[in-house]
């Protein structure tokens, strides 16, 4: 009977390969506009305007590899549950810039986002729905560190993590072999290695900070090694002071290492810096595992290895790992909540992870139950590093207010990298600006 309504005829041609459900949804949607509610309830059996068997999903996975990987997950989900995932992909950066108005408008049911402060911020603003019910099902799949990452400040779950990747010091095995270097595990060993590399005509540590965020990663590593996870978190949350002697100590350590960094970092992109590692001109490079993307030649890629940032204070050892985590959140008023919950539960399974990782081997699973047998050597090592971590951090711009990190920390650290002598006035300035930003609520 629905097929004879004029509105149904209108929406059919718009959906060439329409499944039965998509057709029903078209009719249902049109019915609200034209034919009225009774028809709809007869059709879908639900009081909402959308088909309960379709979940809309806002995606920032605009790059080819992740886009395809996600599409495969949704296809598998459909096969298993009969629920269609209607993906609305936006350019990665645009998605991030518009996230504010997107979430306040009529967002998709589920959307891609990042763990950490960035997730908590929108949870706190009531622009996301808590998903404790989802976590009752998927909780067993994740290690405690991941659970902590998925909670808002109110202690409720808001996030389903899918994949993660660690930050570490990358190097080429052949270069270390050729010069007889060993992997440093303490600060003194690291400094000694840098000295030796310089003597051997290498750039000890490749560095490019043109995009202003890579230096945040260096700060994170030195800070949580020097002062521990708890202080780092307090500092990121705006509670600890940037003029604290502890922060000064972090910068002193950094200043000690800076002469061994590549010249002119502020004018270089991370991709160009990575090329100096590829071409064996640099000995080490501190970055996320995505540095592997620059190793396009398979032989070079096989030669790539990494180690955790060396210990600075034995109290904290190497217990903290910086591992930005990406995943999904549920928007404030999802249209088909029951299906969205099913999708989130599926995304929290080891199967979903396995599908993703098969297509995108540059990251590792967030789940502790994911099948790691097909991992590359780098993935295995990354996975071991993350699962063995006592604490996970995200990254400065995910652990702290993004407005603070982008308008204050990024320029400040660029300034430090260029001129490490002006550190005291720089820290005073950071602290003053931090106070106004964090006070603004």
């Amino acid at each position: 009977m629905h097929h004879v309504t004029p509105s149904g005829r209108l929406s059919l041609p718009a959906l060439p390969s329409a499944s039965r459900r998509a057709v029903l949804r078209g009719i249902g949607g049109a019915a609200v506009l034209g034919a009225g509610i009774p028809l709809l309830s007869a059709c879908g059996g639900s009081g909402t305007s959308s088909d309960p068997k379709t979940v809309t999903l806002g995606s920032n996975a605009s790059d080819a590899v992740p886009k395809k990987a996600f599409a495969e997950i949704y296809a598998a989900f459909k096969k298993q549950s009969g629920i269609t995932v209607d993906v609305n992909t936006k350019d990665h950066n645009t998605f991030q810039e518009q996230i504010n108005s997107y979430l306040q408008g009529t967002p998709d049911d589920v959307f891609n986002w990042f763990a950490g402060y960035r997730m908590q911020f929108f949870a706190g603003k009531k622009l996301a729905t808590p998903i404790d019910d989802v976590w009752q099902t998927i909780g067993g799949n994740f290690p405690d560190a991941m659970k902590a990452l998925s909670k808002g400040e109110d202690g409720k779950y808001y996030f389903v993590p899918l994949y993660t990747y660690p930050w570490a010091l990358f190097y080429r095995k052949s270069v270390f072999q050729q010069h007889g270097y060993t992997v440093p595990t303490t600060w003194d060993q690291l400094v000694a290695l840098c000295k030796q590399m310089k003597k051997d005509g290498l750039v000890p540590i490749a560095f490019g900070d043109k995009d202003a965020w890579p230096a945040l990663g260096t700060f994170d590593q030195i800070n949580f090694r020097t002062n521990g996870y708890d202080f780092h978190v307090e500092l990121m949350a705006g509670k600890a002071s940037w003029t604290d002697a502890k922060v000064r100590k972090t910068f002193d350590h950094w200043a000690e290492l800076l002469p061994y960094h590549q010249d002119g970092a502020v004018g270089r992109t991370w991709q160009d810096a990575a090329q100096t590692l590829v071409s064996k001109k640099a000995g080490m490079y501190l970055l996320g595992t995505f540095v592997a993307q620059q190793f396009t030649n398979q032989a070079d890629a096989d030669d790539l290895d990494f180690f955790a940032f060396p210990e600075i204070d034995p109290t904290y050892g190497q217990e903290t790992v910086e591992a930005p985590t990406d995943g999904f959140m549920l928007s404030k008023a999802p249209k088909s909540k029951a299906s969205a919950v099913k999708l989130l539960e599926y995304l929290g399974t080891p199967e979903a992870e396995a599908i993703y990782l098969k297509a995108d081997p540059s990251v590792v699973a967030a789940s502790s139950k994911a099948d790691t047998s097909s991992y590359t050597a780098l993935q295995k090592k990354a996975y071991a590093m993350i699962s063995g971590a006592k604490h996970l951090t995200q990254f400065m711009d995910r652990d702290s207010r993004p407005d603070f990190t982008s308008t204050v920390m990024q320029p400040a650290l660029q300034k430090f990298v260029r001129d490490p002598k002006g550190i005291d006035s720089l820290l005073t300035s950071i602290e003053r600006q931090k106070k106004t930003i964090f006070a603004s609520g």
């Binding site: 991030q96 911020f121 002119g264 004018g267 270089r268 600006q433 930003i437 603004s440």
Partner: protein, 325 residues
């Protein structure tokens, strides 16, 4: 003519009696001609653009002035908090990028007016001499103006890239020890970008001056030649003074270019150390996931005030001139 001048302005405004009666009838005719539908159409044609203009230009401008006295993260209207002059206080005393940004906008203007503008005039004068291939030169020199600034920025990045760029590769300044960081070094990067900006601006100025020169009466040149003036004397005493209207346009255009400078720098290094600009600070504060809309608006208001300070005197002098004419 003489009769007219004796009349008072009011009297002059009154039309002679003979033409008065048809004029009275004309509006009546219009009233008859305009059907309801016509009036509706006209109303829409005038009304829709007016509404759009008011909503998109005036309301937004006034809203950003109002927002400059608040803090707002852009989420829900209830999170707008009135903070009075705090944003401005913060800006003037606490923001390490603000004063450099003002300074760089000023430098931008001074450089554009002192280097590419006279150079553009020089090129225009040369091209005006009807030399061979004049059109080829014209096209070549005007080309940078046609290309989008974002593309210009990209192309110049290839020239300036410290590791793989043209300059450093040619002079071998991409090795440790002697390394020239055109993009990262705050003593260099602003000048590096200004070269790119000047490269474009010179072509723009050339076209403006060329148009101005075309309108110079050839009889003036002839007269000065007959008086025995050499080329430089002719230019200095005869041609340049007649370019006065063009010079005003050039000045205004250059000021606008200096205030709205953005694209080139944003592509080059996003206004990092040494290349901060007001427009970039506004963008950095407003665009993003948890934005400082109030603070960004305060910077925008500063930019607005500077622009008004430049534009108002210009408008006053222009209107004065028109009244005199």
């Amino acid at each position: 003519m003489t009769v007219d001048t004796t009349k008072t302005p009011e009297a002059a405004a009154v039309p002679p009696p003979g033409t008065a009666s048809p004029k009275k009838r004309v509006p009546q005719g219009h009233r008859r001609l305009l059907t309801r539908r016509d009036r509706l159409t006209l109303g829409l044609m005038a009304g829709v653009p007016t509404i759009l203009h008011v909503a998109l230009v005036w309301v937004t401008a006034l809203a950003s002035i109002a927002l400059a006295f608040t803090t707002w993260d852009g989420i829900g209207f209830d999170s707008i908090k009135w903070v009075g002059l705090d944003n401005f206080k913060e800006l003037f005393s606490n923001n390490p990028q603000f004063w450099p940004a003002v300074e760089h906008n000023v430098i931008w203007f001074v450089v554009l007016i002192l280097i590419p503008t006279p150079f553009g005039l020089f090129l225009a004068v040369q091209l005006d001499k009807k030399i061979r291939f004049s059109r080829v030169y014209q096209t070549a020199l005007f080309l940078p103006v046609v290309v989008s600034l974002a593309v210009t920025g990209f192309v110049w990045q290839l020239v300036y890239n410290p590791d793989t760029g043209l300059i450093n590769s040619l002079i071998g300044a991409n090795k440790p020890g002697h390394y020239i960081d055109w993009i990262g070094d705050p003593h260099l990067n602003l000048w590096a970008i200004l070269i790119a900006a000047s490269w474009r601006h010179a072509g723009y100025m050339m076209i403006l001056y060329l148009a101005g020169l075309k309108s110079v009466d050839p009889a003036l040149r002839e007269a000065s030649a007959l008086d025995g003036a050499n080329e430089w004397q002719t230019f200095k005493n005869v041609i340049f003074p007649t370019l006065r209207p063009t010079n005003t346009v050039v000045l205004v255009v250059t000021i606008i270019e200096a205030l709205r400078a953005f694209d080139l720098v944003f592509v080059f290094n996003k206004g990092a150390q040494g290349t901060e600009l007001l427009s970039i600070l506004v963008t950095n504060n407003i665009i993003g996931e948890s934005s400082r809309i109030g603070y960004g608006s305060a910077i925008a208001v500063v930019l607005l005030v500077i622009s008004l300070a430049v534009i108002i005197p210009y408008l006053i002098s222009t209107f004065r001139k028109e009244r005199r004419a």
